[in-house]
């Protein structure tokens, strides 16, 4: 069930350049299940900025009733968010949307992420590993300074890093790594900028794949039609990223 809750900030720190790891606690966590779902966060009590910000769930800790988000402080809203401290409460709406189907993977899965698309793959990797699925992580970042959670992913499986400027790992995009990796997986999951999703989809037409999309949002719950995409099904078919997604099987969404 979707809840709106003032959640307490448990910890908040900068883990890479402009990348923040924010853990909050509250009963809303008990509603979380699927990796890839997101929450809609109100960053200020004021009307400026007005709209909530969609942020993926990066890690769920049901026992502690807490969950973790990882985000980049970029525009006005996320910069304000980065100022929250441990005494603050955060207005969270969630969990929202449909995430990655963990049961789809059989033996080995590729988790392919770019930039701020990486965070939801972490909870996904945790859940896949818990089910005995081997996970390989192919993660792309701008530069060395922007890399986060490398060790955490390594602890769960093979992890390959690409940076655009070559300052860490392979130079270039995740696709450069994918080209050099074997095709011995059954399922891939991907989250990142749309051109990356397109490239990944293109690279593995034969495989089962699941992609997480981004769109500008209003309501975040399916009521305002801000976040629609057409689909391959028919001329008149469309989905809403916020409530039908953000995760869709490969080949469905026209982006």
């Amino acid at each position: 069930m979707i809840k709106q809750e003032k959640m307490a900030v448990v910890s908040h720190q900068e883990i890479a350049k402009n990348i923040f790891e924010l853990t909050v606690t509250g009963s809303l966590v008990q509603e979380m299940n699927e990796p890839g779902q997101f929450v809609h966060v109100r960053v200020a009590d004021s009307f400026e900025p007005l709209l909530r910000r969609p942020i993926s769930v990066a890690k769920i800790d049901k026992e502690a009733s807490s969950f973790t988000m990882i985000y980049r402080a970029e525009g006005r809203g996320t910069t304000l968010l980065s100022g929250k401290t441990e005494r603050d409460m955060l207005d969270v709406l969630g969990p929202l949307g449909h995430g990655f189907p963990v049961e789809a993977a059989e033996q080995k899965a590729y988790l392919i992420g770019g930039g701020i698309g990486v965070p939801p793959l972490y909870e996904l990797a945790l859940q896949l590993n818990a089910r005995g699925v081997e996970t390989v992580h192919i993660l792309g970042f701008e530069s060395r300074e922007a890399v986060f959670y490398e060790d955490q992913f390594r602890a769960l499986g093979d992890t390959h890093i690409a940076t655009v400027d070559g300052s860490h790992g392979t130079e270039g995009f995740v696709t450069h790594i994918l080209n050099a990796l074997p095709n011995d997986f059954d399922t891939y999951y991907s989250c990142g900028p749309t051109p990356m999703l397109e490239a990944v989809q293109w690279a593995y037409p034969q495989k089962k794949g699941f992609l997480s999309y981004e769109q500008r949002m209003g309501c975040g719950i399916g009521a305002c039609f801000a976040c629609v995409c057409r689909t391959t099904k028919s001329e008149t078919d469309y989905i809403k990223v916020c409530s039908d997604g953000p995760v869709f099987p490969a080949g469905v969404v026209i982006s």
Partner: protein, 304 residues
Amino acid sequence: MTDLRVQLPGLDLKNPIMPASGCFGFGQEYAQLYDLSKLGSIMVKATTAEMRLGNPTPRVAETSSGMLNAIGLQNPGLEKVVSEQLPWLEQFDVPIIANVAGSIAEDYVEVARAISKAPNVHALEVNISCPNVKQGGITFGTDPDVARELTRMVKEVSDVPVYVKLSPNVTDIVQLAKAVEQGGADGITMINTLLGMRLDPKTGRPVIANITGGLSGPAIKPVALRMVYEVRRHTDLPIIGMGGVTEVDDVIDFLSAGANAVAVGTANFVNPFVCPELIDKLPERLHELGYESVEELIGRSHRL
């Protein structure tokens, strides 16, 4: 006990609070969050004769204390709305206000005729003011003669009272209000969004794919309130006021300016529980202000 009830043509409202059209879909999503029977009414999403896919994305952009949208009247079309969305809403004890839109007058007539027969539709809201559709749309809302005539045509075929939704993008909103009154409107809803634009400073490109969009939210409240106040001075038609309502004192302000009920749009996105919260807070606030009913408060700014 503070009396929240309001009587309007076709609408016996338990309270004067309702979600505004386009900000609440057909209720399904918000029904996951709370009991829709609590609402005074629901203004559902614009319905057109045929299904519409609307504008390309991005369709929304944030602005200071506001947002722009250019959804473009995306909706499943008259047939589906009448056969699926409206029947689904019958489970709730809440009168529906159906928002009617189109590109040409005949579209409006077709939708109005059919949708006004749905058992839970107690009133129509004729959207002559959507800034986000290329054809027709906006000109219906800016030319008094066209607005009068369209109102007359819709009124003729409608089984329920007809409210006309006014655009703020006009030189003289009172003139438009009078025109739709002459056309036989039973009420007015106002305001729709102000036409606006945002650019991406990095590229110089419009953020909204449609280039311009409709501005809503707290930023426009002063304009909305002024227009409600002006229109109230020149007509006795019931007014459902809206534009930037987010807090209980915004409701008080619109009622004071002469609105008979108040709709809440953008604020639903900021706080999805805003409508029931406003309904809960209203009795206490009225009491604090020395009023025992909503009806008493309506239009008080004109009686000072």
